[in-house]
Symmetry: C2
Subunit: 193 residues, 2 copies
């Protein structure tokens, strides 16, 4: 029986949700699908390729922000939805982080951020720096949230109190303010004459 | 022969530098020190405790920024030196990330960032949000750099071109601009009357 790409992805997601990234091996994936490991290689030659598939699938779930909103609100929406999407999958931030090390800046999401910032009237250089700042902030932040939740579950860290959505929104607004105002706080240029 | 805390730390750093975080186990650490695993437990009861020691040692190497510089330049210096320190240790960002999941915000570095932002005339709430934005950005960014370098070393990702220090500085300046100007880009309040 031929295995389909979407069956491999679904099986990998089941293992991830139930056991976590550390237990997601090609061997285990083959067992879950009841095939020999060799049968997978035509679709996914190795774990890196599998992670890339999982990450692509996860990132594709981030909704496109409404183009009727102001550009900076589109960015806030995108970054808020990215966190929600990553938190919705066990070890989501780690999957994206591990698989995107090679290509985060060239991902679809990275390109959208650059377009949105340029639509706000900024240079390509500032838009690229903003993409790097925003993506690494969101993924770093969410990675920490998921690691901490796992540690708290195992009693290795105290549970966190307070409103985690509000804390994220406050930190995100700092980064977005920097995207809006690249030269804020510098001395204003003197008027000519 | 009694083992000293600093001998354990030095042995852990040797294993980390030579083999990486995945191979740093309590068993291997004991073998490196030529003792039984039980002999370590008085100093470091488990891997989490070991990671915390390694992270504390790494973060303590980040120099205190000069207090004669303007507050926002102190932040830039701190964030630049933090990246340099993490990149100087194999898997440095992962060690800090894994061990700090429970306590990044309450670390010495986190407290210093809050103090510096408050010295710049900002509220405690903005200083806390800035700490979260800055630390997660730096660690997320550096984690990606180290993961990518490792993948490139194994031929699993193409080498990156361009000036990586300049790319980091540009992204960092976006975050710092947001710390300086929390309300930048919002509609200016109308003058009264």
């Amino acid at each position: 029986m031929a295995i389909r790409r979407q069956d491999i992805l679904a099986a990998a997601q089941r293992i991830l949700s139930e056991y976590g990234l550390a237990d997601l091996t090609m061997r285990r994936l083959a067992a879950e699908l009841d095939v020999q490991p060799g049968a997978l290689y035509w679709h996914v030659p190795n774990k890196q390729a599998l992670l890339a598939e999982l990450a692509d699938d996860l990132l594709a779930r981030v909704p496109e922000p409404s183009s009727r909103r102001r550009w900076d609100r589109q960015l806030t929406q995108l970054a808020t939805d990215l966190r929600t999407t990553l938190l919705g999958q066990r070890d989501g931030a780690e999957v994206v982080s591990a698989s995107r090390a090679s290509s985060l800046d060239t991902s679809h999401l990275g390109k959208r951020i650059v377009e949105i910032v340029q639509a706000g009237g900024h240079t390509h250089a500032h838009a690229s720096a903003s993409r790097d700042a925003l993506l690494h902030f969101v993924i770093g932040y969410t990675f920490d949230e998921q690691s901490h939740a796992l540690m708290a579950e195992h009693g290795a860290a105290p549970a966190r109190f307070g409103d985690s959505d509000a804390a994220y929104a406050a930190a995100l607004s700092v980064v977005i303010a920097g995207v809006r105002a690249p030269t804020a706080g510098r001395a204003a240029p003197r008027p000519a004459g």
